[in-house]
């Protein structure tokens, strides 16, 4: 128990209520906005001395002056004279506190008059109801940071059942850009979640979409931390180390050999894998890329027909000249060409209820996808994907879409989340819980604007994901501009430093003016936390992530420059066999078309054989090197006599 630092005070005009009270302190007390205090009542109720726990939400200070004019007069209008005043004017420090918890909780009464003291570590646990989930026999606490007050540090825990489900789930982070709040916070959160998620609750992995810059590109590289950060890691029981199991996925650039990511430095390519999809994968999510103007009901019907009847099947028709098995965009283009040619030959405008104009339109739109998503979508149907069914516990899968085109970003997001959902439903993903981190939620799930496929998916995760173990960790700069159902379903909300305009929006009206001011001035490493167990927001400090910052990473591991085809191929193959040389690659691919080289490369990457070189080489058909034909012997038309006198 700490010494009292204040006394509860209530008047008829400002009475105590069950949810709010006021107290005064000495001028030099360590109380501030966000401080947790304990009130000890004086009179027992039902045989128990009541205790109330509260968090300071507002502070007042005033003197015995009735009007500022008296102070002006007292100093003869010269502020400099205040230094000569022999006595400091009497000053009051008065604080408003919101009640966190009453003990006992019934009967619920106004906060009693009594002494106010700083909450001890044990008091903080009671006040925030953490005692309910930090029991030795059932500890589901995930440390989020340290609450600091009066020289005391208390670890603050979130309840895993309310962070990852099933009771509640999802987490949303808001904060201005450039203060390392959002990315740092989510990196720290993943570290603490992996360190403390109870084994008894199952396994957990994270899928992070890197949507801008190099933010999440170096999660497996260590950071340079200060001693204070290391101490926080130790206090909170989280290993001060980068993530041990991280895999990166990024589409190719348009050249289809260079990875389109800022993590393209050769030193780091060991765990970077191409993300490429073929026709089958893309066609399932055609809706993502084709807007309503593109796809009316008729076009939709034809796309469904292709998906159900044409894709990956032997398909023949009297209009077609030959049998088709469509596995790639190239195959599909051949199928369309054959079909339209057949219809022209027959002079027909309809095929199986589909008008030729609809067929042309769908051909145009679908063919266009491989152009719009070049590098992600392969013409040859090759697929390099996340390890569906083989996700590892405590692993991070980063899907780097930062440099991808917007269409490709949407497609990647929609398909990855759908596949996660599909596998979690079937319980065959490899882990029982997946945290999906999406930044820039303003863009992907805006409060207004057209209904997009991506927004629908985010809403679906937010509203139903927790039953599956699909958890959304999202972040944005302006919470007010994100769809209400997405942020509203986030059981836990974190707030870093906020923009004043954002704080002026109605969503923050529940916070006191002082709390809003504190939010507007939070320093790096500080967060305000809302969690279902906490009846009021709590301010905590968290350590710098133990992983290399994006901007440090790009300096230390500069992005690889665009390279010729042969060098690009070599880089990819050397991930598996570092002994391969450029000369060898040039020798193997030198005479082959780009299309063949890519097909061979994709096949090699997909199979990852023991002998990469041999496998890669075997993918090419034999080309006999052309040898120049010997020049025919020249037969003179007429041989001149040696002594021809007219020859000159």
């Amino acid at each position: 128990m700490t010494a009292p630092l204040g006394l509860v005070v209530a008047t008829e005009r400002t009475p105590n209520t069950p949810h709010q009270f006021q107290f005064w302190t000495a001028i030099d007390s360590p109380v501030g906005i966000g401080t947790i205090v304990r009130v000890d009542g004086r009179q027992p109720v039902d045989g128990h001395i009541p205790h109330a726990y509260g968090i300071v939400t507002e502070g007042f200070s005033y003197t015995d002056l009735a009007s500022p004019l008296f102070d002006v007069l007292g100093h003869d209008g010269d502020p400099g004279q205040s230094a000569f005043a022999p006595t400091e004017r009497a000053e009051v420090r008065l604080y408003s506190a919101a009640v966190l918890r009453h003990v006992p909780e019934e009967p619920l009464q106004p906060v009693p008059m009594g002494e106010v003291s700083l909450a001890t570590e044990a008091d903080v646990a009671i006040a925030l109801r953490m005692d309910g989930y930090l029991r030795d026999d059932a500890n589901t606490g995930i440390p989020i940071g340290l609450y600091r007050s009066g020289g005391m540090d208390s670890a603050i825990y979130l309840d895993a059942e309310f962070l990852v489900g099933p009771e509640a789930a999802h987490l949303n982070i808001t904060g201005v850009s450039g203060l390392a709040t959002k990315t740092s916070a989510v990196e720290w959160l993943m570290a603490t979640l992996f360190a403390h998620f109870p084994k008894s609750k199952g396994s957990v992995a994270a899928v992070c979409f890197n949507v801008k810059g190099p933010d999440l590109c170096f999660l497996d590289q260590p950071a340079e931390l200060e001693e204070t950060d290391r101490a926080m890691y130790e206090t909170l029981g989280v290993p001060c180390a980068p993530f041990q199991n991280v895999r990166y996925f990024a589409p190719f650039k348009a050249d289809n050999v260079s990875l389109n990511t800022l993590r393209s430095n050769e030193e780091l390519l060991g765990n970077v894998q191409p993300l490429t999809w073929g026709l089958k994968e893309v066609l399932q999510f055609a809706e993502v890329l084709l807007n309503r103007d593109d796809v009316d009901a008729k076009a939709d019907a034809l796309i469904d027909f292709i998906k159900e009847r044409v894709l990956d099947r032997e398909f023949e028709d009297r209009v077609l000249r030959e049998k088709h098995r469509v596995r790639s965009f190239a195959d599909l283009e051949g199928w369309f060409r054959d079909l339209l040619s057949g219809l022209e030959d027959q002079g027909s405008e309809h095929w199986r209820t589909h008008h030729v104009a609809t067929i042309r339109k769908v051909r145009n739109r679908l063919s266009n996808i491989s152009t719009r998503c070049a590098g992600l979508v392969t013409n040859d149907g090759h697929t390099s994907d996340l390890p569906w069914g083989d996700f590892a516990d405590r692993a991070v899968y980063v899907v780097d879409v930062a440099l991808a085109e917007e269409d490709a970003q949407d497609l990647i997001f929609a398909r990855v989340v759908s596949k996660l959902r599909e596998h979690l439903e079937k319980r065959d993903l490899g882990v029982s819980h997946v945290v999906v981190f999406v930044d820039e939620l303003n863009k992907y799930a805006p409060a207004d604007g057209p209904e997009t496929y991506v927004r629908k998916m985010l809403l679906d995760i937010a509203e139903r994901g927790r039953y599956l173990g699909l958890v959304l960790f999202s972040a944005q700069q302006f919470r007010s501009q994100v769809h209400r159902r997405v942020v509203g379903n986030a059981g836990t909300a974190l707030y870093g430093r906020m923009d004043g305009d954002e704080l002026a929006t109605p969503g923050y009206a529940v916070l006191s003016a002082a709390t809003r001011t504190k939010l507007a001035t939070l320093s790096k490493g500080q967060l305000m936390v809302r969690h279902p167990h906490f009846t009021q927001p709590i301010f905590v400090s968290f350590p710098r992530p133990a992983v290399m910052r994006g901007r440090d990473g790009v300096e230390r591991f500069p992005q690889a420059a665009d390279v010729p085809r042969d060098v690009g191929v070599l880089r990819q193959l050397r991930r598996f066999d570092p002994s391969l040389t450029l000369a060898w690659v040039q020798d193997v691919i030198g005479l082959h078309e780009d299309e063949d080289v890519l097909r061979a490369l994709h096949a090699t990457l997909a199979h990852a054989p023991d002998n990469v070189g041999a496998y890669f080489k075997s993918q090419f058909r034999k080309i006999i090197r052309a040898t120049p034909a010997p020049a025919p012997a020249r037969t003179p038309l007429r041989v001149l006599p040696d002594d021809d006198p007219y020859a000159i």
Binding site: F84, A85, P86, T87, R89
Partner: protein
């Protein structure tokens, strides 16, 4: 001059206080009193009075309460007339040590007339006397134990010990009694800010002799002549010359003109420390 004689100059004159104001006062003493009629026995009033005194000492520009404040609650009863209606035993049982008789016989054996208004005034006067007694008790305790400069609200002559203590500075804000008349009074009323009158020796009946002078704390131009005017009292035993000591104490008092004792209506003459003492007693004796 009335009941006073010059101690510094043959005739009273205005003197500019030499030197710059220097804060040296270490404590402020004041008392409060409150009385209210709580009942009547026949035509005779029963008055409940509270008198209190406190010293607010100053450390590093902050004021805090020195020692324990003295607070006294009494019921002032005109026993000579009330006993005809109520048995003394009943009164003593009900009031115990709080019982205070307002009809004690004078030296000549007379008792006040049974006039309700007169008895009410006597009760109020008794409360005032009790307040003064508490103030003096605290002042004596301070002077005996601390000996550091203390500003006392009012005169210091009521206690021999205080009147002879060099640490006590009495500051009289009300001027019901003026110790000057004629030309001397005109000089007093014409004092400018930072000026004082010549020191005089005053010895009111029943009080110890003290040295006193008038001091103008604030510029009274455009206001009434008593604006910002106080009368200062100090002991007659002073090792320094009277002029030097009067200037020194005047400098101390001028330094106390900040911060303003507003919103008290007497802020032109009241030191902030004295107001602090009054506010403390108002808050704690309600």
């Amino acid at each position: 001059m009335i009941d006073a004689e010059g101690a510094e100059d043959a005739t009273l004159r205005a003197r500019l206080v030499q030197g710059v104001p220097v804060p040296a006062i270490r404590a402020f003493l004041d008392g409060t009193q409150r009385s209210q009629v709580i009942g009547w026995v026949g035509a005779f009033p029963l008055v409940y009075g509270t008198s209190a005194a406190v010293v607010r000492s100053r450390t590093e520009r902050r004021l805090s309460t020195w020692d324990a404040p003295l607070v006294q609650h009494r019921v002032y009863v005109p026993l000579a007339y009330v006993l005809a209606h109520v048995a003394r035993g009943d009164l003593e049982r009900a009031l115990g040590a709080m019982l205070e008789d307002t009809t004690r016989p004078a030296l000549d054996g007379s008792i006040p007339a049974p006039h309700p208004t007169l008895l009410l005034e006597r009760a109020t006067l008794a409360v005032s006397r009790d307040r003064e007694r508490l103030e003096l008790a605290l002042a004596e305790r301070w002077c005996a134990s601390r000996g550091e400069p203390i500003m006392i609200d009012g005169g210091i002559g009521a206690s021999e010990a205080v009147a002879q203590s060099s640490c006590a500075v009495g500051v009289v804000k009300s001027h019901r009694t003026l110790y000057a008349e004629g030309d001397a009074l005109a000089i007093v009323l014409a004092l400018k800010k930072g000026e004082r009158s010549s020191v005089i020796r005053v010895a009111p009946r029943g009080r110890s002799e003290v040295l006193s002078w008038y001091l103008r704390l604030r510029d009274a131009e455009g206001r009434d002549a008593l604006w910002g005017l106080v009368r200062v009292e100090m002991c007659v035993r002073s090792r320094e010359s009277i002029s030097e000591r009067a200037d020194e104490l005047s400098r101390w008092l001028l330094a106390e003109s900040m911060p303003l004792a507003a919103p008290d209506p007497r802020w032109d003459r009241m030191a902030y420390g004295i107001r602090s003492a009054e506010e403390f007693l108002r808050a704690t004796t309600n």
